[in-house]
Symmetry: C2
């Protein structure tokens, strides 16, 4: 179980995600992004891939879907902050969205 | 394309859903419910069944998921109100949750 990311480790981990449109929440405990797909089937297909990965890693997103849009919020509830698991899931989401 | 439900037709259509925990939003234009499942896989399995049905009927929910919980909001954006399509989708969700 990794602890919350802090300092330069956190900054370095976040940099590539912020470039891809992720934002830190005001309290710094989560990162969020809205993904936009072509339509509902594209959005839900992506969600399904993410769901399988999330279950496998036992680290799940908070997310909402409205037709072609999916808004994601990632945090590590057990540490009340952002950990390497959130960075890994966010990075995986980006790869799946590019595929 | 059916129009917004009104009057006694609306009341009759909503009654069985209100008994199952659905609530009308303050503006009356949508109905919402939070479904609780055993865990993430149960929640997402249900979402997947609903997604296939929604796509088939070309009528999609606004919904959010956090681990075992799924919060649903149904409205008919094209009529800016509640129609038979929302009632049908909500009823279908109940059946799928019972299965």
């Amino acid at each position: 179980m990794s602890g919350p990311l802090t300092g330069s480790e956190r900054s370095a981990a976040l940099a590539p995600l912020l470039e891809r449109g992720w934002r830190e929440t005001a309290d710094g405990r989560a990162i969020t992004k809205q993904f936009a797909f072509a339509d509902f089937t594209e959005a839900f297909a992506w969600m399904t891939r993410v769901a399988l990965r999330a279950e496998k890693a036992n680290h799940h997103p908070d997310w909402s879907n409205s037709y072609a849009k999916v808004t994601v919020s990632l945090t590590s509830h057990d540490t009340n902050g952002l950990t390497r698991r959130d960075i890994d899931l966010a990075s995986w989401m980006e790869k799946a969205a590019d595929a």
